[in-house]
C-alpha cells in the first residue's frame, strides 16, 4: 500500500531525512520509533504534504500513485490521514462543522453523496460514544481550550469519521494518562482491518502494549537503522536509543 524509497528531505536548509526506505502492505500496522529530533514528524509531514516539507529526492508510492505529486487535500481524499502530534486550534469553527465539512469533502471526492445533517449527527454520536467523549465536543470550537488528552481523542474521532485507508499517527500517546491511552488505543484498534494500514509514530514503547505492531522500525538521524518484530520495541525500551546516535 505504501512504499517509501530513498526519501531525502531538507528542512530550513538542514538535511532531516537522509534516505528513508519503508514498505507497508494493507492490513499491517507498523511502528516508527526513534529519539526526539530524529525526523519522525518530518516524515509524517512529507507524507501528508505540509508546506516546507518537500522530498528533495526519492519517491513515495501509495496504492501505485505518486503520493508526493498530490496536494494535501488530494492525499486525504485518497484515504491518507495524519493524526497530528500537535493538533491545531481553530477559533470560531465548531467541531461539528469542521468534521462535517471534512467528511463531506472526502465523500464527494469518492463520488458518494454528502451526509445530511441528521445522518452526520447520528454517526458522530456513535463514534463519540466509542471514544467516551461527551456530545458537547461537537459544539466546542475545534481544539480550543481542549486538554492535551482531549485533543488527541479529537484526532482519533476525526480518523474514525473519515475512515482512512492509511493512517499516520504521530505521537498520539503523548500527553495521555493510562485510562485515556486505553480508550484511544481501543479506538485505533477498532479501525484495524485487512484493507487498512497504519504507521504509528511513537517515542515510547508504552502505546505498543495496546496497539501491537506487525513491524517496528527505528528512525535515527534520518534513516531507518533497524527493523524488526514487536519485540524490538521492548528491547528499545530497555536499552534506549543511545546505540543509534552518532556518538555511540
Amino acid at each position: 500500500m505504501l512504499e517509501i524509497r530513498d526519501l531525502h528531505t531538507v528542512v530550513d536548509g538542514k538535511p532531516i531525512l537522509r534516505g528513508v526506505d519503508l514498505e507497508i502492505v494493507a492490513g499491517e500496522v507498523h511502528a516508527v520509533m526513534g529519539p526526539n529530533g530524529s525526523g519522525k514528524s518530518t516524515l509524517a509531514y512529507v507524507l501528508s504534504g505540509r508546506e516546507g516539507y518537500h522530498a528533495d529526492s526519492g519517491e513515495v508510492l501509495y496504492d501505485g500513485q505518486m503520493l508526493l505529486e498530490l496536494t494535501p487535500e488530494e492525499r486525504a481524499r485518497a484515504g491518507l490521514f495524519l493524526a497530528f502530534q500537535y493538533p491545531v486550534e481553530i477559533p470560531g469553527v465548531p467541531n461539528a462543522t469542521f468534521l462535517r465539512t471534512a467528511v463531506n469533502a472526502v465523500r464527494l471526492a469518492r463520488g458518494e453523496e454528502e451526509l445530511s445533517a441528521m445522518a452526520f449527527l447520528k454517526e458522530a454520536r456513535a463514534k463519540l460514544k466509542q471514544l467516551q467523549m461527551d456530545e458537547s465536543f461537537l459544539n466546542r470550537q475545534v481544539n480550543v481550550g481542549f486538554s492535551g488528552g482531549e485533543k488527541k481523542r479529537n484526532e482519533i474521532l476525526q480518523m474514525a469519521m473519515l475512515e482512512p485507508r492509511l493512517a499516520v499517527l504521530d505521537e498520539t500517546d503523548s500527553g495521555l494518562d493510562i485510562d485515556a491511552l486505553k480508550i484511544v488505543a481501543d479506538g485505533i484498534n477498532r479501525l484495524r482491518s485487512a484493507g487498512r494500514a497504519m504507521l504509528v509514530i511513537t517515542h515510547y514503547q508504552r502505546l505498543l502494549d495496546y496497539i501491537v505492531p506487525d513491524k517496528v522500525h527505528v528512525l535515527a538521524e534520518g534513516r531507518i537503522v533497524r527493523s524488526g518484530g514487536k519485540e524490538l520495541a521492548v528491547e528499545l525500551e530497555k536499552k534506549g536509543y543511545a546505540e543509534f546516535s552518532s556518538a555511540a
Binding site: R75, F84, I90, V93, A102
Partner: protein, 453 residues
C-alpha cells in the same frame, strides 16, 4: 487646498441655481440652514487626507471631476432589479428611493400602524416641518455654547453638502410606545443622471419617542457599473426607554463612491443596536457619531467591511458617553483581499459627568493577500475616573498551519480559506437579533465568499 477649492466652487454655483427649487424652499428656517451649510462647505472645501478625521480617504479621487447632481426624473428602474435586496419572508414597510427621490411605484409600505409616520422628505416638509426643524437644527447648531459643551465636532463639508442639497429621503416617526412588527426597509439606489454619473444626497430621519421600538434597515446600492456618488446622511433620535435596531448595507456599484454619515442621539434608558456591512463602492466612508446623552443607555455598534480589488473602505466612529451608567460595545471586523485598503478610526470619549460608563471597542482585520492593507486607529479619551473602558485592534492573516490542518482532512484550499474567513466574521452576522436581516446579510456574505478569486 487649491484643487478642492476649485471643485467646491462648482457645487456652490450649482446650489445657487437650484436653491429655490428644493423642497421646502419656502421655509425660512430651512433656507437659513441651507445657506449656512453651503457657506460651511465653501469654507472647508472637499475633505482631503490632510485633515486628521479624513486621513485615510482622499475624496478628490472620486469627486474631481464631479458627478452631476441627480434630479428626480429617473425611469428605467424596475422592481425586478430590486428583488434580490428584499427582506424575506416578513411583513415589512419598504420604501425605494432612486437618486434619493421617493418612488411610490417601486415601494410597498404596507399597512401603517397607528402612531407611525412613514413618508418621504418632501411630504414631511409639507406636513410636519417642525419635526425636521428640530432635528436638522441640532446637527448644525454651531453656537459656541454647544461646541464648547457637548459637541466638539463641527459638521464637516460632506455633511454640509447633504444639508444644502438634500431633496429626498425618508422620514420616520414613532409615537410613544409604538412597536413595529416588521422592519422598515429603505432602499436607496443611485444611478446615472442622463449619460453622466449622478451624485445623490439622501437624507433619513428616524425619531422613536419614549418607549417605542423599531427596526430600520437601510440598503444603499448602485445601478450597474456606473460611477456614482451617494452622500447619505441619517439621523436617529431614540427617546427615553425606546429601542432602535439600525442596520445598514453599503452595497454600491463597484465603481461608485459612498459617503455615509449617521448621527445617533440616545436618551436615558434607551437601547440602540447598530450594524453596518460594507461590500460595495470603489471608495467609501462610513461615519457614525453616537451620543449617549441620557443615563443608563445601552448601545452596540458593530461593523463588517469586505474589501477586494482596489476598493477603499474607511470606517470612522465616534461614541460620546455624556451621562452616567452608559454601556457601549463596538466590534468592527474587516476582511481585506487583493490590493484593497480598509481602515478604522474609532474614538470613544467619556465626558466628566459620565461616571460608571462601560465602553469596549475592538477592531480586527484579516488580510487575505500580500497587497491588502489595513489601518487601525482606536482611541479612548476618558475625562472621568469611575469608568470601565477597553479597546484593542489586530491585523493578521490566515494561519498557514490551520489551513494545512483543514486540507489534511480533505477540505480544498478555497473551502478551507472560506471556512476560516467565515469563522472570523460570520459570528457577528449570526448574532444579529432580527432573523430576516440576519438572513439577508448571511446570503450576502456567502455570495461575497463565493466570488473570491
Amino acid at each position: 487646498m487649491g484643487a478642492s477649492k476649485h471643485t467646491s466652487d462648482v457645487y456652490v454655483d450649482r446650489f445657487d441655481e437650484i436653491r429655490d427649487r428644493l423642497p421646502g424652499a419656502g421655509l425660512p428656517w430651512l433656507k437659513n440652514l441651507r445657506s449656512g451649510a453651503i457657506e460651511r462647505f465653501a469654507d472647508c472645501g472637499l475633505p482631503n487626507s490632510r485633515v486628521e478625521e479624513w486621513k485615510y480617504t482622499n475624496l478628490s479621487r472620486i469627486l474631481d471631476p464631479q458627478p452631476v447632481l441627480a434630479g428626480p426624473s429617473i425611469n428605467g428602474v424596475h422592481r425586478a432589479s430590486l428583488k434580490q435586496y428584499y427582506l424575506d419572508p416578513t411583513p415589512c414597510h419598504r420604501m425605494v428611493f432612486v437618486n434619493s427621490y421617493y418612488r411610490p411605484d417601486l415601494s410597498d409600505t404596507g399597512v401603517l400602524p397607528a402612531g407611525l409616520t412613514l413618508c418621504s422628505l418632501e411630504t414631511a416638509l409639507a406636513d410636519r416641518p417642525e419635526l425636521l426643524e428640530a432635528h436638522w437644527g441640532i446637527l448644525h447648531d454651531l453656537s459656541e455654547d454647544r461646541l464648547s459643551g457637548k459637541n466638539d465636532l463641527k459638521p464637516h463639508a460632506m455633511i454640509a453638502l447633504n444639508t444644502a442639497f438634500a431633496a429626498g429621503g425618508a422620514v420616520i416617526h414613532l409615537d410613544h410606545n409604538v412597536s413595529l412588527d416588521g422592519p422598515i426597509h429603505l432602499i436607496y439606489l443611485t444611478t446615472l443622471e442622463g449619460e453622466r454619473p449622478a451624485m445623490s444626497h439622501p437624507r433619513t430621519l428616524v425619531v422613536a419617542e419614549a418607549g417605542a421600538h423599531a427596526t430600520i434597515f437601510e440598503t444603499f446600492i448602485g445601478n450597474g457599473g456606473d460611477a456614482h456618488c451617494c452622500n447619505a446622511l441619517t439621523q436617529v433620535a431614540v427617546g427615553p426607554g425606546a429601542r432602535v435596531c439600525h442596520y445598514k448595507h453599503q452595497g454600491e456599484a463597484p465603481n461608485g463612491a459612498h459617503i455615509g454619515s449617521s448621527h445617533i442621539c440616545l436618551a436615558k434608558n434607551s437601547t440602540y443596536n447598530g450594524f453596518v456591512l460594507s461590500d460595495g463602492a470603489l471608495v467609501s466612508r462610513n461615519e457614525i457619531r453616537v451620543r449617549l446623552e441620557g443615563e443608563n443607555v445601552d448601545c452596540s455598534l458593530d461593523g463588517i467591511y469586505l474589501a477586494r480589488g482596489n476598493q477603499h473602505m474607511d470606517n470612522w466612529t465616534r461614541i460620546d458617553h455624556m451621562a452616567p451608567l452608559g454601556k457601549s460595545r463596538e466590534v468592527y471586523k474587516g476582511v481585506i483581499d487583493g490590493a484593497a485598503h480598509g481602515s478604522f478610526q474609532g474614538k470613544i470619549r467619556v465626558w466628566p459627568e459620565a461616571i460608571q460608563s462601560d465602553a469596549r471597542q475592538l477592531n480586527k482585520n484579516l488580510l487575505l493577500s500580500d497587497r491588502a492593507e489595513a489601518s487601525s486607529k482606536p482611541e479612548l479619551e476618558i475625562l472621568t475616573d469611575d469608568v470601565q473602558c477597553a479597546h484593542g485592534s489586530t491585523v493578521g492573516d490566515l494561519d498557514g498551519e490551520t489551513l494545512f490542518y483543514l486540507r489534511s482532512r480533505g477540505v480544498g484550499e478555497t473551502a478551507a480559506r472560506n471556512l476560516l474567513i467565515d469563522a472570523f466574521v460570520g459570528e457577528v452576522i449570526d448574532n444579529l437579533a432580527d432573523v430576516p436581516v440576519r438572513k439577508y446579510f448571511r446570503n450576502l456574505f456567502n455570495h461575497w465568499l463565493s466570488e473570491a478569486t
